[in-house]
C-alpha cells in the first residue's frame, strides 16, 4: 500500500483482522517519509508485516520510476530504522526452500539444516552430512520475493505501458467499475508477465497493449486460490490469497484506492488443494 495514503489503506484492509497498532502507524508515517527522501524512491509502499516468534519484521518497498522494475526491499524491527535487504536470487531461493517453520524475528539467526552432499575425493564418491547454515535474513528476502511474485496484485488500468518501455502510474485511473471489480480477470500480478506469451492470438487480439501487459489472476493454479469478497455492501472489494494466507488486496470500486498488504507468518499454504 502506498505510504502516502497509509491511514486510509489500513482502515480499508482491516477486514482481515490484522493491522497496525497506533504507535507503529505513527512511526511508519514519519519514517517512510524519511526513507523516501534518503533512498530517492518515486513511491514507497508499505509491504506488510511478517510475524516472528520473538519479533516482527515490518517490510517496506521502494519503487523507482519504472513501476515493474525490481523493487528495493527494506525491513525494520521497530518501524523506525530501516535496513536495505539484498535483492533475491534463485540460488537463495533454493537454499531457503528447505527451511520450514516460523520466522524467529532475529535477522541474524541461523537455521541449521543438514544435507547429504556428494563429495568427490579423488575417485571416491561418498556422501557426507553437511550442516548448512542459512541466515534468516536470506530467508526473509526469498520469502518476500516469492510472495511478490505469487500474489502481489494490482488492478487493471492502474499502470500503463508506454511505447518506449517504462511503465508508469496511470493518473487517469478512476477505479474499476462494480461489475469489473468482482471478476478476477480485472486484476493482474504485479510482476513481469510469465504467461502472456502463451496466449493464443485470438486472446491477444482483445488485449490492449498499453494496459494488458501483465498476467491476470484468472488462470492461477489452483483454481479458487483467491477469495473475492465485497465488504461494506458493495463499497469495497477484498481479495485474499489462500496460497499465502495473510495477503489481503483491497480496492474501493470507482475510486483510486487500492493496495495490498501482507500480514502473516511468511509460510506458504501447501495444504490448499485439500482445503478447497
Amino acid at each position: 500500500m502506498d505510504a502516502e495514503s497509509l491511514l486510509l489503506s489500513l482502515e480499508l484492509a482491516s477486514g482481515s483482522g490484522q493491522g497496525l497498532s497506533p504507535d507503529r502507524r505513527a512511526s511508519l508515517l514519519t519514517s517512510l517519509m524519511l526513507v523516501k527522501r534518503d533512498y530517492r524512491f518515486d513511491r514507497v509502499l508499505f509491504w506488510g508485516r511478517i510475524l516472528g516468534l520473538v519479533a516482527d519484521y515490518y517490510i517496506a518497498q521502494g519503487v523507482s520510476e519504472d513501476q515493474l522494475a525490481p523493487r528495493k526491499t527494506l525491513y525494520s524491527l521497530n518501524c523506525m530504522e530501516w535496513s536495505l535487504l539484498p535483492p533475491a536470487t534463485e540460488e537463495m531461493e533454493m537454499q531457503t526452500s528447505v527451511v520450514k517453520g516460523r520466522f524467529i524475528g532475529d535477522p541474524s539467526h541461523e537455521y541449521e539444516h543438514t544435507e547429504l552432499q556428494k563429495v568427490n575425493e579423488g575417485k571416491k564418491v561418498f556422501e557426507e552430512e553437511v550442516v548448512v547454515q542459512i541466515k534468516e535474513e536470506k530467508r526473509l528476502v526469498s520469502v518476500i520475493d516469492q510472495i511478490d511474485k505469487a500474489v502481489a496484485v494490482i488492478p487493471r488500468g492502474a499502470l500503463f505501458k508506454t511505447p518506449f518501455g517504462p511503465i508508469n502510474v496511470n493518473r487517469t485511473f478512476e477505479g474499476l467499475s462494480l461489475s469489473e471489480a468482482k471478476k478476477l480477470s480485472s486484476y493482474f500480478h504485479f510482476r513481469e508477465p510469465v504467461e502472456l506469451k502463451n496466449k493464443t492470438l485470438l486472446e491477444k487480439a482483445e488485449l490492449d497493449p498499453s494496459l494488458d501487459f501483465m498476467d491476470s489472476l484468472e488462470h492461477d493454479i489452483p483454481k479458487g486460490s483467491w477469495s473475492v469478497q465485497m465488504e461494506r455492501g458493495n463499497a469495497l472489494v477484498v481479495l485474499r490469497s489462500l496460497l499465502w494466507p495473510g495477503l489481503t488486496f483491497y480496492h474501493a470500486p470507482r475510486t483510486k484506492n487500492y493496495g495490498y498488504i501482507y500480514v502473516g507468518t511468511g509460510e506458504k499454504n501447501l495444504d490448499l488443494p485439500f482445503m478447497l
Partner: protein, 722 residues
C-alpha cells in the same frame, strides 16, 4: 394492392353507377400531404350514391386520376396547396389507410392524416353535397366551413385539432366497424346504401364513423415496438413544427427515425443504474435498522438495563486494547458489530454475551458471538439428534435377527459417544453467527464428540454459507455449520486464557480422584483479583491459565465411558483416564497457587517453538502498555490484558497451525467380515495349470470312453461280419 385496386375500383364503379365517378376522380386526383385524404375523398364521393369503401392504395389515385377524366380540376387546383409529392412519403401507411378506407361509411375521423383527410372529406363532402344537391343542412355547412378552413395554411395544426375534437366522440365506434368492414364488402355496401338512401342527416354520422375507424386504426399499437402510428405521427409533426427546419419534407424520414430513437434511450438508463447500486443500498438499509433500534426501547427499559449491563460487553473498550496490539477490524466495523450484538441481546434471553471473533471464508465471513442463555431458557433441539441414533441402533438389530442364516459379521459399529449436555464441557456456550452486521443472527447447533474428532482430521476452508456440505475423508458428519461449531469449540478450548487469579473455583474441592474424574468445570470470577503486573504477564507464561476445559481425544471434556464393563475393567480404564489426563493437561488438574486452572506454560510445544508469543504492546511507552498474547498454534487467536482486564479474540481462517503439511488419513484395512470355518470356506479359483490338467484328464477320460465304444463297435462289427 395496387393491382387489385383498379379491379376494385371498377367493381365499385359498377356498383355505384356513374354518378360516383367524377367524385371519385376528384378524390383520387387531389393530392393531400397524407394520402388518406385522397382516399377519404374517394369514399366521400359515394355518399351521394352511398359511401363505398375502396381499397385503393395511395398510389393509385394518381394513376387512377391519370386514367380517368378530370372533371374536377378545380378541386385539384384548390388542393394544390398540398404538395403532391407528399403522397408518397408514407408508403407504409398507405395500404393500411387504404384498408381503413374500406370502412369509411361516414367521414372517418383520424388525427393528422385522417383529420386532414376528414377535413378534405368533409370539404369534399360539402362540395359533393353541393354538387349532388342533396340538400343542405348544418352538417354540410359545417363541412363547407371546415373545407374553407382546410384551405388555410395547412402547416398550422389548429384546424387539425379542431377536427380531432369533433371526431373524438365518434371514434370509439370505429373499431368494431373496422373489423366488420374488412371481412365483407357487401356488408359495407349495404351500410353505405343505407345512408345513401337516407337523408343527409345520416351521412355526417357515417363520415364520423369512418373517421373514427381510421383513427382507431391509427391508434393500433405495433406488436414489435409498442408504438402506434397516431402518436408517432403526432410527435413527428410536433417536432417539425417546433423546430421548423428548412426543407422539412426532405428530412422527414430522419425526423421520423429520431423520434423513434428517442423512445428507446430513456429505458436503458434506468436499468443500468438500478442494477449496480442495489446491493450497497441493501446493506446500508439493514445497518440503518441497527442504528435506529435504540429508539424503539419501550417501558421495559429498567429491567432490560439491569440485564443488559451484564449481557452486553463493552466491545469498544476491548477493541481499543486490541488495537494497541495491532489486532482489530477497524473502528466502524467494530461499532457495527457492537450494535448487532446489542440487537442479539435484545431479541434473545441472554445472560452473557461476548464477541468471540471473526472467521474468514471464501465467499463470506462469519462474525461469531459467544452467548450464555439465562437459566431455563435453553433451546429444545437437543432431543432430536438423539432420536435418530436410537432408531439406527434398532434397525441394525432388526436386520441381524432376520439374517440369522447368513454368517454373522463381527463388525459392530462403535457406539456413538453422546454429546455433552448443554452448559457443560464443549457445549458450555451457545454460539451465534452472522455474515455481516445487520444480517440476522443464526444459532449454531451444539457440537458432538464425533464432529470434534473428525474436525481434527480434516482441514477445509469455510465458504460463508452455513448449509454447504463438507466433502472430505473421513466424512464429516454434518455441514458447514457443524464444522464451524467444532472449530470454534477447538479454538476456544485451545486459546481462551486469562490471567492467573482472575478465575478461581467457587467451592473448595479436594484433589480426590473421583472429583477429578467428574471434572471441575465450574469456576467463578475471583472477586479478590488484584491484577497481575503487565511485565509479569509478558515475561512468564505461567501467569496465564486456560479457563476453558480441554477437549479430550474422545471429543468431550468430561470422560464418557462408552462400554459397560466389570469393575476391574473400570478400574483399568480409570487408570488409563488418569494417564491420559496426565499427558494432556486437563484444565482443572494442576494447581498453581490458589486457582486450579492450568497455566499455559504447560502447553505442548510445536516442534521446539513455544505455542504462545507474548509481547508488550508498545516498547516506547511501557508504562501504559498492555500484554499481548498471540497463539502460534491457532494463528489469529489473541489475548490481551492490562493487568486487571483481559479479553480473548480470534480473527482468522479457523485452522490449526502445523509445520508439517496436512496429510489425509488413510482408509482402514478391509475388515474380515466373518470367520473362515468349515461351513464357509472361501476357495481359491483354480490356477491355469490346474485347469489345463483337469481338462486334459477329462479329455483323456472321454477318449478312453470313445475308444471303448469304438472297440465295442468294432467288436460288434466283427461279430456282424462273422
Amino acid at each position: 394492392m395496387e393491382d387489385s385496386v383498379p379491379v376494385n375500383q371498377k367493381i365499385e364503379h359498377q356498383e355505384l353507377g356513374e354518378t360516383g365517378r367524377p367524385w371519385e376522380e376528384t378524390v383520387t386526383t387531389s393530392q393531400k400531404p397524407e394520402l388518406g385524404l385522397s382516399e377519404a375523398l374517394e369514399l366521400e364521393q359515394t355518399p351521394g350514391t352511398g359511401l363505398q369503401p375502396r381499397s385503393s392504395p395511395p398510389g393509385t389515385p394518381r394513376s387512377g386520376a391519370g386514367t380517368r377524366d378530370r372533371p374536377v380540376d378545380d378541386l385539384v387546383g384548390q388542393r394544390s396547396s398540398f404538395p403532391p409529392s407528399s403522397s408518397q412519403e408514407l408508403p407504409s401507411t398507405l395500404s393500411p389507410l387504404a384498408l381503413a378506407r374500406q370502412d369509411f361509411m361516414a367521414p372517418s375521423q383520424s388525427d393528422k392524416t385522417t383529420s386532414v383527410t376528414s377535413e378534405a372529406e368533409t370539404s369534399h363532402f360539402g362540395h359533393l353535397e353541393q354538387l349532388s344537391d342533396k340538400g343542405g343542412s348544418t352538417p354540410h355547412q359545417i363541412c363547407q366551413s371546415e373545407g374553407n378552413t382546410f384551405h388555410q395554411p395547412q402547416q398550422t395544426k389548429y384546424p387539425l385539432h379542431d377536427l380531432r375534437d369533433v371526431s373524438h366522440t365518434t371514434s370509439k365506434q370505429k373499431e368494431l366497424r373496422f373489423d366488420i368492414f374488412q371481412e365483407d364488402d357487401s356488408n359495407n355496401n349495404y351500410h353505405l346504401d343505407q345512408p345513401e338512401s337516407g337523408a343527409s342527416e345520416v351521412a355526417p354520422s357515417m363520415l364520423e364513423i369512418a373517421i373514427q375507424n381510421t383513427k382507431a386504426y391509427l391508434l393500433k399499437t405495433s406488436s414489435k415496438s409498442g408504438l402506434n402510428l397516431y402518436d408517432h405521427l403526432s410527435e413527428m409533426l410536433t417536432k417539425v413544427l417546433d423546430q421548423r427546419p428548412e426543407n422539412a419534407v426532405d428530412i422527414i424520414e430522419n425526423i421520423s427515425q429520431d423520434v423513434k430513437m428517442e423512445h428507446f434511450s430513456k429505458k436503458l438508463d434506468t436499468l443500468q443504474n438500478e442494477n449496480e447500486m442495489l446491493a450497497t443500498y441493501e446493506i446500508a438499509e439493514k445497518q440503518k435498522i441497527l442504528f435506529l433500534q435504540g429508539n424503539l426501547e419501550g417501558s421495559d427499559q429498567e429491567l432490560e438495563d439491569e440485564i443488559a449491563e451484564h449481557a452486553l460487553p463493552n466491545i469498544m473498550e476491548s477493541a481499543f486494547y486490541f488495537e494497541q496490539a495491532g489486532v482489530g477490524l477497524g473502528t466502524d466495523e467494530t461499532y457495527r458489530i457492537f450494535l448487532a450484538l446489542k440487537q442479539l441481546t435484545d431479541t434473545h434471553p441472554i445472560q452473557k454475551c461476548r464477541f468471540w471473533g471473526k472467521i474468514l471464508g471464501l465467499e463470506m465471513n462469519y462474525i461469531v458471538a459467544e452467548v450464555e442463555f439465562r437459566e431455563g431458557e435453553d433451546e429444545e433441539e437437543v432431543e432430536e439428534e438423539d432420536v435418530p441414533e436410537e432408531r439406527d441402533n434398532g434397525d441394525s438389530e432388526a436386520d441381524e435377527d432376520d439374517e440369522d442364516e447368513l454368517p454373522r459379521p463381527f463388525y459392530r459399529a462403535p457406539q456413538a459417544i453422546p454429546k455433552e449436555e448443554s452448559r457443560t464441557g464443549a457445549n458450555k456456550y451457545v454460539y451465534f453467527v452472522c455474515n455481516e452486521p445487520g444480517r440476522p443472527w443464526v444459532k449454531l447447533p451444539a457440537v458432538t464428540p464425533a464432529q470434534i474428532v473428525i474436525a481434527r482430521k480434516i482441514k477445509k476452508f469455510f465458504t460463508g454459507r452455513l448449509d454447504t456440505p463438507i466433502i472430505s475423508y473421513p466424512p464429516f458428519p454434518g455441514n458447514e455449520s457443524n464444522y464451524l461449531r467444532a472449530q470454534i469449540a477447538r479454538i476456544s478450548a485451545g486459546t481462551h486464557v486469562s490471567p492467573l487469579g482472575f478465575y478461581h473455583f467457587g467451592e473448595e474441592e479436594g484433589e480426590e480422584e473421583e472429583e477429578i474424574e467428574s471434572g471441575r468445570d465450574s469456576f467463578e470470577e475471583n472477586p479478590d483479583f488484584e491484577g497481575v503486573q503487565v511485565i509479569d504477564l509478558v515475561e512468564s507464561l505461567s501467569n496465564w491459565v486456560h479457563h476453558v476445559q480441554h477437549i479430550l481425544p474422545q471429543g468431550r471434556c468430561n470422560w464418557f465411558n462408552p462400554i459397560q464393563k466389570s469393575e476391574e475393567e473400570e478400574e483399568e480404564e480409570d487408570e488409563e483416564k488418569e494417564e491420559e489426563k496426565g499427558e494432556e493437561p486437563d484444565d482443572i488438574e494442576q494447581e498453581v497457587g490458589p486457582p486450579l486452572l492450568t497455566p499455559i506454560s504447560e502447553d505442548l510445544e510445536i516442534q521446539n517453538t513455544s505455542p504462545w508469543t507474548t509481547r508488550l504492546s508498545s516498547n516506547l511507552i511501557p508504562q501504559y502498555a498492555i500484554a499481548v498474547l498471540r497463539s502460534n498454534l491457532w494463528p489469529g487467536a489473541y489475548a490481551f490484558s492490562n493487568g486487571k482486564k483481559f479479553e480473548n479474540l480470534y480473527i482468522g481462517w479457523g485452522h490449526k497451525y502445523s509445520p508439517d503439511s496436512y496429510t489425509p488419513p488413510v482408509p482402514p484395512p478391509v475388515y474380515q467380515e466373518y470367520p473362515s470355518g468349515t461351513e464357509i470356506t472361501e476357495m481359491d479359483d483354480p490356477t491355469v495349470e490346474e485347469e489345463q490338467a483337469f481338462r486334459a484328464a477329462q479329455e483323456a477320460a472321454a477318449d478312453s470312453t470313445e475308444e471303448n465304444e469304438e472297440t465295442e463297435e468294432e467288436e460288434d462289427e466283427e461279430d456282424d461280419y462273422d
